[in-house]
Protein backbone atom coordinates (compact mmCIF):
# COMPACT_ATOMS: atom_id res chain seq x y z
CA UNK A 1 0.00 0.00 0.00
CA UNK A 2 2.83 2.31 0.72
CA UNK A 3 4.15 1.66 -2.72
CA UNK A 4 0.88 2.57 -4.27
CA UNK A 5 0.89 5.85 -2.40
CA UNK A 6 4.40 6.87 -3.23
CA UNK A 7 4.44 5.78 -6.84
CA UNK A 8 2.22 8.57 -8.27
CA UNK A 9 4.70 11.09 -6.93
CA UNK A 10 7.58 9.35 -8.58
CA UNK A 11 5.63 8.92 -11.76
CA UNK A 12 4.96 12.61 -12.04
CA UNK A 13 8.59 13.51 -11.48
CA UNK A 14 10.15 10.88 -13.70
CA UNK A 15 8.80 11.85 -17.15
CA UNK A 16 10.03 15.43 -16.76
CA UNK A 17 13.56 14.30 -15.90
CA UNK A 18 13.51 11.71 -18.65
CA UNK A 19 12.39 14.20 -21.26
CA UNK A 20 15.23 16.53 -20.42
CA UNK A 21 17.81 13.81 -20.34
CA UNK A 22 16.76 12.23 -23.61
CA UNK A 23 17.06 15.55 -25.45
CA UNK A 24 20.78 15.07 -25.60
CA UNK A 25 23.43 13.22 -23.68
CA UNK A 26 23.87 15.49 -20.73
CA UNK A 27 27.38 16.17 -19.58
CA UNK A 28 28.19 16.96 -15.97
CA UNK A 29 30.55 19.71 -17.07
CA UNK A 30 28.38 22.75 -17.78
CA UNK A 31 28.69 25.27 -20.58
CA UNK A 32 29.20 23.00 -23.58
CA UNK A 33 26.86 25.00 -25.82
CA UNK A 34 28.41 28.34 -25.00
CA UNK A 35 32.07 27.30 -25.19
CA UNK A 36 31.61 25.23 -28.32
CA UNK A 37 29.78 28.10 -30.02
CA UNK A 38 32.50 30.56 -29.09
CA UNK A 39 35.20 28.17 -30.26
CA UNK A 40 33.55 27.68 -33.63
CA UNK A 41 32.98 31.41 -34.10
CA UNK A 42 36.55 32.17 -33.09
CA UNK A 43 38.07 29.49 -35.33
CA UNK A 44 35.98 30.74 -38.25
CA UNK A 45 37.08 34.30 -37.71
CA UNK A 46 40.76 33.54 -37.21
CA UNK A 47 41.40 30.51 -39.42
CA UNK A 48 38.55 29.50 -41.66
CA UNK A 49 37.45 32.82 -43.20
CA UNK A 50 40.97 34.07 -44.05
CA UNK A 51 41.88 30.72 -45.55
CA UNK A 52 38.66 30.43 -47.51
CA UNK A 53 39.32 33.79 -49.15
CA UNK A 54 42.43 32.19 -50.62
CA UNK A 55 40.21 29.64 -52.32
CA UNK A 56 37.56 32.15 -53.32
CA UNK A 57 40.17 34.44 -54.85
CA UNK A 58 41.82 31.68 -56.83
CA UNK A 59 38.47 30.24 -57.86
CA UNK A 60 37.71 33.47 -59.62
CA UNK A 61 40.67 33.19 -61.97
CA UNK A 62 39.61 30.18 -64.03
CA UNK A 63 41.17 26.75 -64.26
CA UNK A 64 43.69 27.49 -67.03
CA UNK A 65 44.97 30.66 -65.40
CA UNK A 66 45.16 28.91 -62.06
CA UNK A 67 47.29 26.08 -63.46
CA UNK A 68 49.51 28.52 -65.30
CA UNK A 69 50.14 30.60 -62.19
CA UNK A 70 50.10 27.84 -59.58
CA UNK A 71 52.20 25.31 -61.51
CA UNK A 72 54.55 27.54 -63.47
CA UNK A 73 58.06 26.05 -63.63
CA UNK A 74 59.30 28.65 -61.16
CA UNK A 75 56.48 27.91 -58.73
CA UNK A 76 57.06 24.16 -58.94
CA UNK A 77 60.77 24.70 -58.26
CA UNK A 78 59.82 26.83 -55.25
CA UNK A 79 57.51 24.09 -53.91
CA UNK A 80 60.27 21.58 -54.31
CA UNK A 81 62.65 23.74 -52.32
CA UNK A 82 60.08 24.57 -49.65
CA UNK A 83 58.74 21.08 -49.07
CA UNK A 84 62.08 19.38 -49.68
CA UNK A 85 64.05 21.46 -47.21
CA UNK A 86 61.23 21.38 -44.64
CA UNK A 87 61.11 17.61 -44.92
CA UNK A 88 64.88 17.22 -44.66
CA UNK A 89 65.04 19.59 -41.70
CA UNK A 90 62.21 17.80 -39.90
CA UNK A 91 63.96 14.49 -40.52
CA UNK A 92 67.27 15.74 -39.09
CA UNK A 93 65.41 17.23 -36.16
CA UNK A 94 63.59 13.96 -35.55
CA UNK A 95 66.94 12.26 -34.98
CA UNK A 96 68.74 14.95 -33.01
CA UNK A 97 65.64 16.24 -31.27
CA UNK A 98 64.95 12.73 -30.03
CA UNK A 99 68.53 12.44 -28.82
CA UNK A 100 68.26 15.80 -27.04
CA UNK A 101 64.98 14.85 -25.41
CA UNK A 102 66.50 11.53 -24.34
CA UNK A 103 69.48 13.22 -22.71
CA UNK A 104 67.28 15.72 -20.90
CA UNK A 105 64.87 13.11 -19.59
CA UNK A 106 67.26 10.32 -18.68
CA UNK A 107 70.35 12.02 -17.31
CA UNK A 108 71.16 14.60 -14.70
CA UNK A 109 74.04 16.87 -15.52
CA UNK A 110 75.22 20.30 -14.46
CA UNK A 111 73.64 23.04 -16.54
CA UNK A 112 70.59 20.93 -17.43
CA UNK A 113 68.27 23.89 -16.84
CA UNK A 114 70.32 26.07 -19.16
CA UNK A 115 70.16 23.44 -21.90
CA UNK A 116 66.45 23.18 -21.31
CA UNK A 117 66.03 26.92 -21.76
CA UNK A 118 68.25 26.94 -24.84
CA UNK A 119 65.95 24.51 -26.61
CA UNK A 120 63.06 26.93 -26.43
CA UNK A 121 65.10 29.85 -27.71
CA UNK A 122 64.20 29.28 -31.39
CA UNK A 123 60.55 29.74 -30.32
CA UNK A 124 61.20 33.16 -28.88
CA UNK A 125 63.86 34.60 -31.12
CA UNK A 126 62.65 36.86 -33.94
CA UNK A 127 63.21 34.68 -36.98
CA UNK A 128 65.04 37.44 -38.83
CA UNK A 129 67.62 37.52 -36.06
CA UNK A 130 68.10 33.78 -36.42
CA UNK A 131 68.44 34.17 -40.19
CA UNK A 132 71.08 36.88 -39.93
CA UNK A 133 73.03 34.98 -37.28
CA UNK A 134 72.95 31.72 -39.23
CA UNK A 135 74.01 33.49 -42.43
CA UNK A 136 76.95 35.09 -40.63
CA UNK A 137 78.12 31.71 -39.40
CA UNK A 138 77.51 29.59 -42.50
CA UNK A 139 78.51 32.11 -45.20
CA UNK A 140 81.74 31.38 -47.05
CA UNK A 141 83.70 33.63 -44.69
CA UNK A 142 81.75 32.75 -41.54
CA UNK A 143 82.89 30.70 -38.55
CA UNK A 144 81.64 27.41 -39.87
CA UNK A 145 81.34 28.25 -43.55
CA UNK A 146 85.07 28.93 -43.91
CA UNK A 147 85.86 25.27 -43.30
CA UNK A 148 83.49 24.13 -46.04
CA UNK A 149 84.38 26.79 -48.59
CA UNK A 150 87.78 25.23 -49.49
CA UNK A 151 86.07 21.88 -50.01
CA UNK A 152 83.85 23.48 -52.61
CA UNK A 153 80.80 23.16 -50.38
CA UNK A 154 78.67 26.24 -50.09
CA UNK A 155 76.30 26.22 -47.16
CA UNK A 156 74.65 29.60 -47.16
CA UNK A 157 72.64 30.73 -50.19
CA UNK A 158 71.79 27.12 -51.12
CA UNK A 159 69.03 24.70 -50.12
CA UNK A 160 71.51 23.37 -47.55
CA UNK A 161 71.48 26.79 -45.89
CA UNK A 162 67.68 26.83 -45.94
CA UNK A 163 67.63 23.40 -44.34
CA UNK A 164 70.02 24.61 -41.64
CA UNK A 165 67.73 27.52 -40.84
CA UNK A 166 64.71 25.22 -40.71
CA UNK A 167 66.53 22.78 -38.44
CA UNK A 168 67.16 25.67 -36.07
CA UNK A 169 63.52 26.75 -36.19
CA UNK A 170 62.08 23.25 -35.84
CA UNK A 171 64.20 21.79 -33.02
CA UNK A 172 61.93 22.69 -30.08
CA UNK A 173 58.91 21.07 -31.73
CA UNK A 174 60.45 17.62 -31.70
CA UNK A 175 62.05 17.90 -28.27
CA UNK A 176 58.92 19.22 -26.59
CA UNK A 177 56.64 16.62 -28.19
CA UNK A 178 58.80 13.63 -27.35
CA UNK A 179 59.93 14.72 -23.89
CA UNK A 180 56.71 14.07 -21.94
CA UNK A 181 56.24 10.64 -23.51
CA UNK A 182 59.80 9.63 -22.72
CA UNK A 183 59.28 10.85 -19.18
CA UNK A 184 56.14 8.75 -18.92
CA UNK A 185 57.92 5.61 -20.06
CA UNK A 186 59.04 3.89 -16.93
CA UNK A 187 62.57 2.56 -16.67
CA UNK A 188 60.86 -0.73 -15.77
CA UNK A 189 59.95 -1.35 -19.39
CA UNK A 190 63.58 -1.07 -20.41
CA UNK A 191 64.65 -3.23 -17.49
CA UNK A 192 62.10 -5.81 -18.52
CA UNK A 193 63.57 -5.91 -22.02
CA UNK A 194 67.04 -6.08 -20.52
CA UNK A 195 66.11 -9.00 -18.27
CA UNK A 196 64.73 -10.84 -21.31
CA UNK A 197 68.12 -10.60 -22.96
CA UNK A 198 67.66 -7.70 -25.38
CA UNK A 199 70.76 -5.70 -26.33
CA UNK A 200 70.73 -1.89 -26.29
CA UNK A 201 69.93 -1.60 -30.00
CA UNK A 202 67.06 -4.06 -29.70
CA UNK A 203 65.73 -2.15 -26.72
CA UNK A 204 65.82 1.10 -28.67
CA UNK A 205 64.42 -0.18 -31.94
CA UNK A 206 61.83 -2.60 -30.61
CA UNK A 207 60.77 -1.14 -27.28
CA UNK A 208 61.46 2.58 -27.03
CA UNK A 209 61.05 3.80 -30.60
CA UNK A 210 57.65 2.17 -31.25
CA UNK A 211 56.39 3.55 -27.95
CA UNK A 212 57.38 7.13 -28.73
CA UNK A 213 56.62 6.99 -32.44
CA UNK A 214 53.23 8.77 -32.23
CA UNK A 215 54.73 11.69 -30.35
CA UNK A 216 57.74 11.73 -32.64
CA UNK A 217 55.35 11.97 -35.58
CA UNK A 218 53.52 14.84 -33.91
CA UNK A 219 56.81 16.67 -33.47
CA UNK A 220 57.79 15.86 -37.02
CA UNK A 221 54.50 17.22 -38.36
CA UNK A 222 54.81 20.41 -36.33
CA UNK A 223 58.42 20.96 -37.37
CA UNK A 224 57.58 20.21 -40.98
CA UNK A 225 54.58 22.56 -41.01
CA UNK A 226 56.62 25.29 -39.41
CA UNK A 227 59.39 24.73 -41.94
CA UNK A 228 57.05 24.96 -44.91
CA UNK A 229 55.63 28.25 -43.66
CA UNK A 230 58.90 29.75 -42.40
CA UNK A 231 59.87 32.99 -44.05
CA UNK A 232 61.83 35.35 -41.82
CA UNK A 233 64.92 33.28 -41.10
CA UNK A 234 65.09 31.68 -44.52
CA UNK A 235 65.21 34.72 -46.77
CA UNK A 236 68.52 35.85 -45.29
CA UNK A 237 70.33 32.57 -45.73
CA UNK A 238 68.56 31.36 -48.89
CA UNK A 239 70.07 33.65 -51.46
CA UNK A 240 66.63 33.58 -53.08
CA UNK A 241 67.71 32.55 -56.54
CA UNK A 242 64.69 31.48 -58.63
CA UNK A 243 64.74 27.78 -59.53
CA UNK A 244 67.51 27.15 -57.00
CA UNK A 245 66.98 28.56 -53.56
CA UNK A 246 63.72 30.40 -53.76
CA UNK A 247 61.08 29.26 -51.28
CA UNK A 248 57.38 29.35 -52.06
CA UNK A 249 56.45 31.95 -49.40
CA UNK A 250 59.05 34.29 -50.89
CA UNK A 251 57.60 33.74 -54.35
CA UNK A 252 54.21 34.75 -53.03
CA UNK A 253 55.67 37.98 -51.62
CA UNK A 254 57.39 38.63 -54.93
CA UNK A 255 54.12 38.19 -56.82
CA UNK A 256 52.35 40.50 -54.42
CA UNK A 257 54.97 43.17 -54.84
CA UNK A 258 54.32 42.96 -58.57
CA UNK A 259 50.59 43.38 -57.92
CA UNK A 260 49.98 39.88 -59.29
CA UNK A 261 47.41 38.98 -56.64
CA UNK A 262 45.92 36.16 -58.68
CA UNK A 263 49.31 34.49 -59.12
CA UNK A 264 50.06 34.86 -55.41
CA UNK A 265 46.78 33.30 -54.35
CA UNK A 266 47.21 30.44 -56.81
CA UNK A 267 50.56 29.54 -55.23
CA UNK A 268 49.05 30.00 -51.78
CA UNK A 269 46.22 27.62 -52.66
CA UNK A 270 48.60 24.92 -53.86
CA UNK A 271 50.68 25.25 -50.67
CA UNK A 272 47.60 25.20 -48.50
CA UNK A 273 46.27 22.02 -50.07
CA UNK A 274 49.65 20.30 -50.05
CA UNK A 275 50.34 21.22 -46.41
CA UNK A 276 46.90 20.07 -45.38
CA UNK A 277 47.36 16.78 -47.21
CA UNK A 278 50.72 16.13 -45.55
CA UNK A 279 49.45 17.01 -42.09
CA UNK A 280 46.37 14.87 -42.58
CA UNK A 281 48.51 11.93 -43.63
CA UNK A 282 50.78 12.28 -40.60
CA UNK A 283 47.74 12.57 -38.35
CA UNK A 284 46.28 9.39 -39.78
CA UNK A 285 49.50 7.45 -39.23
CA UNK A 286 49.59 8.80 -35.71
CA UNK A 287 46.01 7.89 -34.96
CA UNK A 288 46.66 4.40 -36.25
CA UNK A 289 49.73 3.80 -34.09
CA UNK A 290 48.07 5.36 -31.06
CA UNK A 291 45.00 3.19 -31.43
CA UNK A 292 47.17 0.10 -31.39
CA UNK A 293 48.74 1.08 -28.12
CA UNK A 294 45.70 2.24 -26.20
CA UNK A 295 43.24 -0.40 -27.25
Amino acid sequence: MENALSSPLQMSAAPVRHARRSKRNRSVIPGFGLTMGLTLAWLSLIVLIPLSTVFIRSAGMGWADFLAAGFSPRAVAAYTVSFGTAFAAALVNAVFGLLTAWVIVRYDFPGKRVVNALIDLPFALPTAVAGIALTAIYAGNGWVGQFFEPLGIQLAYTPVGITLALIFIGLPFIVRSVEPVLEDMSAEVEEAALSLGANPWQIFSRVILPAILPSLLTGFALAFARGVGEYGSVIFIAGNMPFKSEIAPLLIITQLEQYDYAGATAIATVMLVASFAVLLLINLIQAWSRRRMNG
Binding site: E188, A192, L194, L196, A198, R206, V207, P210, A211
Partner: protein, 329 residues
Protein backbone atom coordinates in the same frame (compact mmCIF):
# COMPACT_ATOMS: atom_id res chain seq x y z
CA UNK B 1 71.13 -22.63 -4.74
CA UNK B 2 71.58 -18.89 -4.39
CA UNK B 3 74.04 -17.57 -1.85
CA UNK B 4 74.30 -13.94 -0.86
CA UNK B 5 77.22 -12.95 1.29
CA UNK B 6 77.74 -9.64 3.08
CA UNK B 7 75.69 -7.62 0.61
CA UNK B 8 75.94 -3.89 1.30
CA UNK B 9 74.43 -1.18 -0.86
CA UNK B 10 74.70 2.51 -0.04
CA UNK B 11 73.00 5.52 -1.52
CA UNK B 12 75.14 8.38 -0.27
CA UNK B 13 75.39 7.88 3.49
CA UNK B 14 72.21 5.86 3.64
CA UNK B 15 72.71 2.11 3.70
CA UNK B 16 69.83 0.50 1.79
CA UNK B 17 71.33 -2.90 2.61
CA UNK B 18 73.75 -3.47 5.43
CA UNK B 19 75.79 -6.67 5.36
CA UNK B 20 72.98 -8.99 4.28
CA UNK B 21 73.65 -12.71 3.92
CA UNK B 22 71.07 -15.19 2.71
CA UNK B 23 70.77 -18.66 1.24
CA UNK B 24 67.94 -19.59 -1.10
CA UNK B 25 67.36 -23.30 -1.62
CA UNK B 26 66.50 -24.87 -4.95
CA UNK B 27 62.79 -25.11 -5.59
CA UNK B 28 62.00 -22.81 -2.73
CA UNK B 29 59.31 -20.14 -2.70
CA UNK B 30 60.87 -17.34 -0.69
CA UNK B 31 59.24 -14.09 0.43
CA UNK B 32 61.16 -10.91 1.17
CA UNK B 33 58.85 -9.15 3.58
CA UNK B 34 59.27 -5.68 5.01
CA UNK B 35 57.93 -2.13 5.09
CA UNK B 36 58.87 0.34 2.37
CA UNK B 37 62.47 1.40 2.75
CA UNK B 38 63.47 -1.91 4.30
CA UNK B 39 65.73 -2.74 1.34
CA UNK B 40 63.74 -5.74 0.12
CA UNK B 41 63.35 -4.49 -3.44
CA UNK B 42 67.00 -3.45 -3.61
CA UNK B 43 67.96 -6.96 -2.53
CA UNK B 44 65.76 -8.50 -5.21
CA UNK B 45 67.26 -6.22 -7.84
CA UNK B 46 70.75 -7.20 -6.76
CA UNK B 47 69.86 -10.88 -7.10
CA UNK B 48 68.44 -10.11 -10.57
CA UNK B 49 71.43 -8.11 -11.72
CA UNK B 50 69.42 -4.92 -12.17
CA UNK B 51 71.47 -3.35 -9.37
CA UNK B 52 74.94 -4.07 -8.11
CA UNK B 53 76.15 -4.26 -4.49
CA UNK B 54 78.92 -2.02 -3.15
CA UNK B 55 80.23 -4.95 -1.11
CA UNK B 56 79.51 -8.65 -0.92
CA UNK B 57 78.94 -11.38 -3.44
CA UNK B 58 76.08 -13.15 -5.21
CA UNK B 59 76.51 -16.81 -6.13
CA UNK B 60 74.25 -19.01 -8.24
CA UNK B 61 75.06 -22.70 -7.61
CA UNK B 62 78.51 -21.80 -6.38
CA UNK B 63 79.28 -19.64 -9.40
CA UNK B 64 80.04 -15.99 -8.68
CA UNK B 65 77.61 -13.81 -10.64
CA UNK B 66 78.07 -10.59 -8.66
CA UNK B 67 79.14 -8.61 -11.70
CA UNK B 68 77.09 -10.48 -14.28
CA UNK B 69 74.42 -8.45 -16.05
CA UNK B 70 70.77 -9.39 -15.79
CA UNK B 71 70.70 -10.78 -19.33
CA UNK B 72 73.40 -13.33 -18.46
CA UNK B 73 71.89 -14.57 -15.21
CA UNK B 74 68.95 -16.53 -16.63
CA UNK B 75 66.42 -14.95 -14.32
CA UNK B 76 62.83 -14.03 -14.99
CA UNK B 77 61.75 -10.74 -13.50
CA UNK B 78 58.14 -9.67 -12.95
CA UNK B 79 57.51 -6.03 -12.16
CA UNK B 80 54.83 -4.54 -9.96
CA UNK B 81 53.35 -2.49 -12.78
CA UNK B 82 53.71 -5.29 -15.36
CA UNK B 83 56.08 -3.28 -17.60
CA UNK B 84 54.50 -4.81 -20.69
CA UNK B 85 55.40 -3.55 -24.15
CA UNK B 86 52.23 -1.64 -24.99
CA UNK B 87 52.75 -1.51 -28.73
CA UNK B 88 53.12 -5.29 -29.07
CA UNK B 89 50.40 -7.91 -29.03
CA UNK B 90 50.23 -10.16 -26.01
CA UNK B 91 51.81 -13.00 -28.00
CA UNK B 92 54.66 -10.75 -29.16
CA UNK B 93 55.21 -9.67 -25.57
CA UNK B 94 55.53 -13.27 -24.45
CA UNK B 95 57.77 -14.17 -27.39
CA UNK B 96 60.02 -11.13 -26.97
CA UNK B 97 62.70 -12.91 -24.97
CA UNK B 98 63.06 -15.57 -27.65
CA UNK B 99 62.93 -13.13 -30.56
CA UNK B 100 65.87 -11.05 -29.28
CA UNK B 101 68.20 -14.03 -29.08
CA UNK B 102 71.30 -14.10 -31.23
CA UNK B 103 70.78 -15.30 -34.77
CA UNK B 104 72.13 -18.80 -34.20
CA UNK B 105 70.07 -19.48 -31.08
CA UNK B 106 66.90 -17.75 -32.18
CA UNK B 107 63.98 -20.12 -32.84
CA UNK B 108 62.01 -19.70 -36.05
CA UNK B 109 59.06 -17.30 -36.03
CA UNK B 110 56.53 -20.14 -36.05
CA UNK B 111 58.31 -21.79 -33.13
CA UNK B 112 58.30 -18.58 -31.10
CA UNK B 113 54.60 -18.18 -31.83
CA UNK B 114 53.91 -21.76 -30.77
CA UNK B 115 55.88 -21.32 -27.55
CA UNK B 116 54.03 -18.07 -26.78
CA UNK B 117 50.67 -19.77 -27.29
CA UNK B 118 51.76 -22.63 -25.07
CA UNK B 119 52.76 -20.22 -22.29
CA UNK B 120 49.54 -18.24 -22.66
CA UNK B 121 47.64 -21.49 -22.19
CA UNK B 122 49.72 -22.12 -19.09
CA UNK B 123 48.73 -18.77 -17.60
CA UNK B 124 45.13 -19.39 -18.66
CA UNK B 125 45.08 -16.68 -21.29
CA UNK B 126 44.82 -18.97 -24.30
CA UNK B 127 43.28 -17.23 -27.32
CA UNK B 128 44.13 -13.72 -26.15
CA UNK B 129 47.47 -13.62 -27.97
CA UNK B 130 46.33 -11.18 -30.63
CA UNK B 131 45.10 -8.59 -28.14
CA UNK B 132 47.09 -5.61 -26.95
CA UNK B 133 47.94 -5.17 -23.26
CA UNK B 134 45.62 -2.16 -23.00
CA UNK B 135 42.70 -4.49 -23.75
CA UNK B 136 43.39 -6.71 -20.74
CA UNK B 137 42.53 -6.37 -17.06
CA UNK B 138 45.21 -5.86 -14.42
CA UNK B 139 45.24 -9.49 -13.37
CA UNK B 140 45.50 -10.65 -16.98
CA UNK B 141 48.35 -8.23 -17.65
CA UNK B 142 50.31 -9.55 -14.71
CA UNK B 143 49.85 -13.09 -16.00
CA UNK B 144 51.13 -11.97 -19.40
CA UNK B 145 54.16 -10.49 -17.65
CA UNK B 146 54.68 -13.81 -15.92
CA UNK B 147 54.39 -15.78 -19.16
CA UNK B 148 56.88 -13.38 -20.75
CA UNK B 149 59.35 -13.97 -17.94
CA UNK B 150 58.89 -17.75 -18.16
CA UNK B 151 59.43 -17.83 -21.93
CA UNK B 152 63.21 -17.64 -21.58
CA UNK B 153 63.15 -20.64 -19.22
CA UNK B 154 64.76 -18.94 -16.24
CA UNK B 155 66.32 -20.92 -13.43
CA UNK B 156 65.07 -18.30 -11.02
CA UNK B 157 61.84 -16.32 -10.97
CA UNK B 158 61.92 -12.93 -9.24
CA UNK B 159 58.72 -11.03 -8.54
CA UNK B 160 58.66 -7.45 -7.27
CA UNK B 161 55.36 -6.85 -5.45
CA UNK B 162 53.60 -8.87 -8.15
CA UNK B 163 50.10 -8.32 -6.78
CA UNK B 164 50.59 -4.81 -5.45
CA UNK B 165 48.62 -3.05 -8.18
CA UNK B 166 45.65 -5.45 -8.16
CA UNK B 167 42.43 -5.31 -6.21
CA UNK B 168 41.87 -7.64 -3.26
CA UNK B 169 39.74 -10.29 -4.95
CA UNK B 170 41.98 -10.70 -8.00
CA UNK B 171 45.02 -10.70 -5.75
CA UNK B 172 43.72 -13.65 -3.79
CA UNK B 173 42.93 -15.75 -6.85
CA UNK B 174 46.22 -14.92 -8.49
CA UNK B 175 48.12 -15.72 -5.31
CA UNK B 176 46.77 -19.25 -5.11
CA UNK B 177 47.31 -19.72 -8.81
CA UNK B 178 50.95 -18.57 -8.59
CA UNK B 179 51.60 -20.97 -5.73
CA UNK B 180 50.32 -23.85 -7.91
CA UNK B 181 52.37 -22.72 -10.87
CA UNK B 182 55.52 -22.52 -8.79
CA UNK B 183 55.02 -26.09 -7.56
CA UNK B 184 54.12 -27.42 -10.97
CA UNK B 185 57.10 -25.90 -12.74
CA UNK B 186 59.62 -26.72 -10.04
CA UNK B 187 60.99 -23.19 -10.07
CA UNK B 188 62.96 -21.34 -7.48
CA UNK B 189 61.02 -18.15 -6.84
CA UNK B 190 61.66 -15.08 -4.74
CA UNK B 191 58.99 -12.44 -4.31
CA UNK B 192 58.98 -9.11 -2.57
CA UNK B 193 55.95 -7.99 -0.62
CA UNK B 194 54.96 -5.60 2.15
CA UNK B 195 51.82 -7.63 2.80
CA UNK B 196 52.49 -10.06 5.65
CA UNK B 197 49.36 -12.04 4.87
CA UNK B 198 50.62 -12.64 1.35
CA UNK B 199 54.03 -13.72 2.59
CA UNK B 200 52.60 -16.13 5.17
CA UNK B 201 50.17 -17.65 2.70
CA UNK B 202 52.53 -18.18 -0.22
CA UNK B 203 56.06 -18.65 0.96
CA UNK B 204 57.97 -21.69 2.10
CA UNK B 205 60.22 -19.37 4.03
CA UNK B 206 59.86 -15.69 4.89
CA UNK B 207 62.73 -13.23 5.17
CA UNK B 208 61.62 -10.31 7.33
CA UNK B 209 63.63 -7.16 6.65
CA UNK B 210 63.80 -3.71 8.17
CA UNK B 211 66.18 -0.81 7.62
CA UNK B 212 68.47 -2.78 5.35
CA UNK B 213 69.02 -5.76 7.64
CA UNK B 214 67.39 -9.16 7.95
CA UNK B 215 65.40 -9.40 11.17
CA UNK B 216 64.42 -13.04 10.85
CA UNK B 217 64.42 -15.90 8.37
CA UNK B 218 61.98 -18.71 8.97
CA UNK B 219 58.92 -20.62 7.90
CA UNK B 220 55.65 -18.68 8.09
CA UNK B 221 54.86 -20.68 11.24
CA UNK B 222 58.15 -19.73 12.91
CA UNK B 223 57.93 -16.09 11.93
CA UNK B 224 54.38 -15.80 13.23
CA UNK B 225 54.63 -17.93 16.35
CA UNK B 226 58.25 -17.33 17.32
CA UNK B 227 59.13 -13.80 16.22
CA UNK B 228 62.81 -13.20 16.88
CA UNK B 229 62.59 -9.48 17.45
CA UNK B 230 59.98 -6.95 18.56
CA UNK B 231 59.92 -5.66 14.99
CA UNK B 232 58.95 -9.04 13.55
CA UNK B 233 56.31 -9.53 16.22
CA UNK B 234 54.88 -6.11 15.36
CA UNK B 235 55.12 -6.32 11.59
CA UNK B 236 53.95 -9.89 11.06
CA UNK B 237 50.40 -10.25 12.26
CA UNK B 238 48.71 -8.05 14.84
CA UNK B 239 50.34 -7.45 18.17
CA UNK B 240 49.50 -5.63 21.40
CA UNK B 241 52.41 -4.20 23.30
CA UNK B 242 51.89 -4.45 27.05
CA UNK B 243 54.22 -3.01 29.70
CA UNK B 244 57.49 -4.82 30.32
CA UNK B 245 58.11 -5.65 26.65
CA UNK B 246 55.25 -8.15 26.57
CA UNK B 247 53.79 -8.78 23.08
CA UNK B 248 50.42 -10.52 22.78
CA UNK B 249 48.37 -11.35 19.70
CA UNK B 250 44.68 -10.32 19.84
CA UNK B 251 43.61 -13.98 19.66
CA UNK B 252 45.88 -14.85 22.60
CA UNK B 253 44.10 -12.52 25.03
CA UNK B 254 41.16 -13.81 27.05
CA UNK B 255 38.65 -12.07 29.25
CA UNK B 256 38.67 -13.36 32.82
CA UNK B 257 35.64 -13.18 35.03
CA UNK B 258 35.56 -11.16 38.21
CA UNK B 259 37.95 -8.46 39.31
CA UNK B 260 39.51 -10.38 42.18
CA UNK B 261 41.97 -12.27 39.97
CA UNK B 262 45.43 -11.11 40.80
CA UNK B 263 46.88 -11.37 37.30
CA UNK B 264 45.62 -9.71 34.12
CA UNK B 265 45.14 -6.18 32.98
CA UNK B 266 42.16 -3.91 33.30
CA UNK B 267 40.68 -2.40 30.13
CA UNK B 268 37.84 0.02 29.38
CA UNK B 269 36.00 -1.25 26.29
CA UNK B 270 35.94 1.41 23.59
CA UNK B 271 34.62 -0.25 20.45
CA UNK B 272 33.38 -3.65 19.29
CA UNK B 273 32.85 -4.92 15.79
CA UNK B 274 32.56 -8.22 14.01
CA UNK B 275 35.75 -9.32 12.39
CA UNK B 276 35.02 -12.44 10.43
CA UNK B 277 34.22 -15.22 12.85
CA UNK B 278 35.06 -13.32 16.05
CA UNK B 279 34.22 -10.16 17.91
CA UNK B 280 37.05 -7.67 17.82
CA UNK B 281 37.15 -5.69 21.05
CA UNK B 282 39.17 -2.49 21.26
CA UNK B 283 39.93 -1.50 24.81
CA UNK B 284 41.80 1.38 26.37
CA UNK B 285 44.62 0.43 28.67
CA UNK B 286 45.58 2.39 31.79
CA UNK B 287 48.38 4.17 29.89
CA UNK B 288 45.86 5.23 27.18
CA UNK B 289 47.21 2.78 24.62
CA UNK B 290 44.74 0.71 22.61
CA UNK B 291 44.65 -3.05 23.20
CA UNK B 292 42.85 -5.30 20.71
CA UNK B 293 41.48 -8.74 21.52
CA UNK B 294 39.26 -11.29 19.86
CA UNK B 295 36.26 -12.80 21.60
CA UNK B 296 34.51 -15.93 20.38
CA UNK B 297 31.52 -14.91 18.31
CA UNK B 298 29.29 -17.37 20.15
CA UNK B 299 29.85 -15.48 23.41
CA UNK B 300 28.10 -12.28 24.34
CA UNK B 301 30.57 -9.46 23.74
CA UNK B 302 31.11 -6.72 26.33
CA UNK B 303 29.53 -3.32 25.69
CA UNK B 304 31.42 -0.08 25.15
CA UNK B 305 32.24 1.52 28.47
CA UNK B 306 32.46 -1.81 30.31
CA UNK B 307 35.49 -2.48 32.42
CA UNK B 308 37.02 -5.90 31.72
CA UNK B 309 40.05 -7.83 32.86
CA UNK B 310 42.13 -9.65 30.29
CA UNK B 311 44.93 -12.17 30.55
CA UNK B 312 47.37 -13.38 27.90
CA UNK B 313 47.08 -17.08 27.12
CA UNK B 314 50.30 -16.91 25.25
CA UNK B 315 52.77 -14.07 25.07
CA UNK B 316 56.28 -13.17 24.15
CA UNK B 317 58.55 -10.97 26.21
CA UNK B 318 61.32 -9.00 24.58
CA UNK B 319 64.01 -7.61 26.84
CA UNK B 320 67.42 -6.22 26.10
CA UNK B 321 68.87 -9.67 26.76
CA UNK B 322 66.58 -11.63 24.43
CA UNK B 323 63.15 -13.05 23.76
CA UNK B 324 61.16 -15.38 25.99
CA UNK B 325 57.89 -17.17 25.37
CA UNK B 326 55.22 -17.73 27.97
CA UNK B 327 52.36 -20.13 27.72
CA UNK B 328 49.43 -20.28 30.12
CA UNK B 329 48.75 -23.77 31.28
Amino acid sequence: MITLQGITKRYGHYAALDNVSLEVRDGEFLALLGPSGSGKTTLLRIIAGLAFPDEGSVQFNGEDVTHLKVADRKVGFVFQHYALFKHMTVADNVGFGLSVRKRGQRPAKAQIKARADELLDLVQLGGLGERYPAQLSGGQRQRVALARALAVEPQLLLLDEPFGALDAKVRKTLRRWLRDLHKRMGLTSIFVTHDQEEALELADRVVVMDHGVIEQIGTPEQVYMEPATPFVSDFVGETNRLPGGVHVRPHDLEIIGGTCEPDGHELIVDNIFRKGGVWRVEGIFSDNSVVELDVDASLKPPSPGDSIRVRPRRSKTFTSTGAKSHEQA
